[in-house]
């Protein structure tokens, strides 16, 4: 029930936030903040009451009773569709990340939304509810439902409160995600049908669908459907082109949620579904997937370097960083998977923060064009320092979360394929190039007289507080990542056990 409550709180909270606009103009954001924090506190209280949390034991992937939480009730029994939610270490990490970044996103758009505030906060909360559902649903139909639930509010957020080119961006976002969602639905139905023909039972439950018997051909095609659906969301090269537009045009909170959380659903889907459901097919496909990941790393970095739009640059850096996630997942060993999970968490914070900074700049300067910025540090030293922190975080400075992630991914990947590792490692160099260029163009250099005259306001307490949360989180992840690793470890171990069935050996050095 806890998990249902988590989602319901957000859904109803969204409704409340929308209605609260009638009370006062500033009410929705407060309501939204309270709702998200309530949700977070509620989750933490429930967790603290569980003895299992202290000793996260390896959940057996196809035995839900070993999971942290499990909930199942019938929905459409005729087709074996049920409302089945479950929580394990990885889901828990993602849920926590979602709620924390949700609160950060609300804070990020504290002042920059001027029209239809209630509806905005409602969309934000509903989107979060969808994401929570995605991270917890283990009935494939329910998963698909939540997948759609998280996208539609997002579409509204871009289309209504976005920047100058929002219509195009929102439509592109919608078409890409919708098409991939459709692909996923088809794959789900195909998988269920295959399972039905093998066992005679209609079921959409993850636990039942694991180890579905199917022909190699079928497995390949269905796996590919899942893969593309998730990689579009991730986004992996070459399905990433919706992302720069969507990120650039979305309002700050939208960008934060998009980059921080929504992208992770793709990675989560790959880890949870695309590989474990089709272990052999995924293995056959792994080297292609890894090359795509490496291509994403390099391509994203080069394109980021060429951008003049502050937000677009960060968006492309996301493409580059998520390439590491793809690499980590398809290297499919513990090191790399842990790296991928770490990257999901760390990238959530670092990119969210950068988008917040971009949003603050947009709010103050009314432009995102870096050619018009310059020497902003002089007027906004606090913002500059914070930006510097997140820039070095995103270029993978050791001691911060992103480094742990990238290093683990590379370490795991190196054991699988050296040449891909070499290609991916160049991402560290190109990453430094675009990150520092971002810093140079916006905060360093001669101060632009236009802004000196207009008198810019530095970060205030609210913003610094929000940033501090993320700074502390990244440092913590960087020098003591063990809690996150421990949370994910048993799950990854069980997934690895599930997929590396006797005959399959993944390691293939050179």
């Amino acid at each position: 029930m806890v998990m249902i409550n988590l989602i319901l709180i957000l859904l109803i909270g969204g409704l409340l936030a929308m209605l609260s606009e009638r009370i006062s103009d500033t009410m929705p954001r407060k309501v939204a903040m309270v709702v998200v924090l309530t949700d977070l506190v509620y989750l933490l209280l429930c967790l603290s009451g569980m003895p299992e949390i202290t000793q996260l034991q390896a959940p057996v992937a196809n035995d839900p009773s070993t999971w942290l939480m499990h909930f199942k009730t019938d929905w459409i029994p005729a087709f074996g569709i049920s409302i089945e939610l479950a929580l394990d270490g990885i889901s828990l990490l993602m849920v926590l990340l979602t709620l924390i970044l949700g609160a950060i996103a609300i804070s990020a758009s504290w002042t920059d939304i001027v029209v239809r505030k209630g509806f905005f906060e409602a969309n934000l909360l509903w989107s979060l509810a969808g994401v929570l559902g995605v991270f917890m649903a283990l009935d494939l139909m329910l998963f698909f439902l939540f997948w759609e639930v998280m996208l539609i509010p997002m579409y509204f957020m871009i289309a209504i409160w976005g920047h100058e080119n929002r219509g195009y961006a929102a439509m592109k976002f919608f078409i890409f995600t919708q098409a991939s969602g459709l692909l996923m639905l088809m794959s789900i139905l195909a998988l269920v049908a295959v399972n039905q023909s093998a066992t005679g039972i209609w079921t959409f439950s993850y636990f039942d669908l694991l180890n579905t018997q199917m022909t190699e051909q079928a497995a390949h095609w269905i796996m590919l459907g899942f893969f593309i659906a998730f990689v579009v969301k991730l986004p992996g090269f070459p399905f990433h082109t919706w992302l720069p537009d969507a990120h650039t045009q979305a309002p700050t909170a939208g960008s934060v949620i998009l980059a921080g959380i929504l992208l992770k659903t793709g990675a989560y889907g790959l880890i949870r579904f695309a590989v474990p459901l089709f272990p052999e097919a995924a293995l056959d496909f792994s080297s292609a997937a890894m090359w795509l990941g490496a291509a994403g790393v390099v391509y994203g970095a080069v394109l980021a370097f060429g951008q003049t739009d502050f937000k677009r640059l960060i968006a492309y850096s996301s493409v580059s960083h998520m390439g590491f996630v793809l690499l980590g997942i398809y290297a499919w060993n513990e090191l790399a998977l842990q790296g991928a999970v770490m990257q999901m968490v760390a990238h959530g914070f670092s990119t969210a923060a950068l988008f917040m900074i971009a949003g603050s700049l947009q709010e103050r300067l009314h432009t995102r064009d870096m050619r018009e910025m310059s020497g902003l540090w002089q007027q906004m030293p606090r913002m500059g320092a914070v930006a510097m922190f997140f820039v070095v975080a995103s270029l993978g400075l050791p001691g911060l979360g992103n480094f742990v992630a990238e290093f683990l991914v590379l370490l795991g990947l190196f054991q699988v394929n050296i040449w891909i590792t070499v290609v991916a490692a160049t991402g560290l160099i190109t990453g430094a190039a675009y990150s520092l260029l971002l810093m140079q163009r916006s905060f360093q250099g001669q101060a632009n007289q236009k802004w000196v005259d207009s008198g810019l306001v530095d970060f205030g307490t609210r913003e610094m507080l929000t940033m501090a949360v993320m700074i502390v989180a990244l440092i913590f992840l960087g020098i003591y990542p063990q809690p996150v690793l421990d949370a994910a470890q048993p799950v990854l171990q069980s997934l690895l056990n599930l997929t590396t069935s006797p005959t399959v050996a993944i390691v293939e050095v050179m």
């Binding site: 060993n333 513990e334 020497g375 001691g399 370490l411 160099i429 140079q440 360093q444």
Partner: protein
Amino acid sequence: MSETIWLIPLIPLLSSVTLMLVGTRLKASQVGALGVGSVGISALLTLLLATEFMQNQQVIQLSLWTWMEVAGFAPGISFYFDGLTLVMMSVITGVGFLIHLFSTEFMEKDPSYARYFAYLNMFVAAMLVLVMADNLLLLYLGWEGVGVCSYLLVGFWYQHNANGYAARKAFIVTRIGDTAMAMGLLLLFTELGTLDIQTMVGEADQTWQVGATVPTIACLLLVCGAVGKSAQLPLHTWLPDAMAGPTPVSALIHAATMVTAGVYLIARTHELFLLAPIAMTVVAVIGITTSLMAAFTALMQTDIKRILAYSTISQIGYMFLALGVGAWSAGIFHLMTHAFFKALLFLGSGAIIHCLHHEHNIFKMGGLRTRMPVTFWSFMIGSSALAALPMTSGFFSKDQILLQAYQFPEIGPGLWVAGLLGALLTAIYSFRLVFVVFFGSVNTEPDKDTGWRMAVPLSILCLLAMVGGWFMIPVSEVFPASDGSHPAHWVEYVSISVPIVGVLVAYLIFYTGQLKVDRLANSSFGKSLGKLWLSGWGIDLLYDRLFVKPYYGLANKLKSEPVDALYGLIVTINQTLNQWLSSAQSGRMRWYIASMVAGLILVIMLAANLPEGAL
């Protein structure tokens, strides 16, 4: 004491964080006290540690916590302390302290005083972590940490785009090396299952034969990292540009400590290099080539800091030579003495720049001997040490290197000759600097002399540069002993006399003017050679053409997102289809009828062809 060595990096770090958070609200004196004091405490602690170590020679291993633990990969936040670490720590905290003190006067007028000390303290902390790390991953943390601090400090005066460019160049060029080094780490872990240095070398000894492929590749990758950080060929181009930072920064980071991290890395992992003779030869060759290249370049420079920068590159080349020929302790010894005299020279040049309104061109200086006596003597001593004149610290270390290079099998004498040529050039360019700046006519009048906060560090460093050669560095336990044989005496005599000849040449050319080089310099060959040397052998230009411009071009070309064009194609196809279909909906009755008829024809055709009973 041994339990608290973690305090040594922590104190500067805390000070740095404090300065970052509340630095703008503190008074300048408080900032200075905090910045200098924290490093001072670290220096004191290091001193205590040193005395303790001198008595019991005990290696300390201290593990604070496990950094991360994944599938057997478990690097710790843990420290390892032995003689080599002690030498490095002493240099970092000792020289670091002096430079911090010097900075309080040098940076006095700067509005970002607190930011400066925050970065500088951060650097000291990172550098200490680098040398104290007991595993390569923690070392890498320090390694990248100092890189970032270097970036921040080179670009300290961020208002000028050129500084920002230099800073980025420094970071990215070293990052290239770092990435290769990271690959080395991956390889080492994959092969040996640990990154813990002491365990690793033990494993390596058992796993690999001398000269096997894997250790050679691993060592070469580590060398790439070292080459980047220590500004050796081919990744040296960032260092001269890095002089854009404040001069004390150049003294601390780009002369005394960070740039020698590469030397430290190789020395620290020397057991691995002993398994890879090819890698060692590569190190020696890189070292000597860089040394000569940089020395020639230094001859032609006019910017005082650039001369010193190239001289640094050249001297680190000597250290690499030492490491390459297996003269480990000589290399580290030279690292230490170089830290003393090069810090001295940089601080001296800082004093000149400070008193001469940020003048960098040596030909606009002159006659400063009487105007700035403290600085003059600093320079005299520093240059003597740099030129390795007998009895100075540089003499002892460089002499050791040259002698051991001579004994290196096969290419040893060749290395020795090249090293001698380098030494000759070193003497010439360093005394060229002295004669041009301190003798002759006064071109720019200094508006003040150095204050005590500058004079004290200079004096102490003078002392160290003089007597540093008598120190015994406690690394005998760390490195394998050399065989103790000595080459023939004439080798030694030649080695000693070459620098003196060099000084003499400089004296004749730049002081008395008796030796005329104008004709050579004005010949077309001389001119183009001079130009080549002035531009650092044109390597910057080459890289610009070869890497930087193409990368910019690529980024610009890809900016329009060719992949998106693919999706654009889908859109175009849809639009075309839409046009076709909507043009069918023309409202022309006859067209409709015609198409209906065509459809009818088709239907009948199909119906007629259907098998019997299908309808």
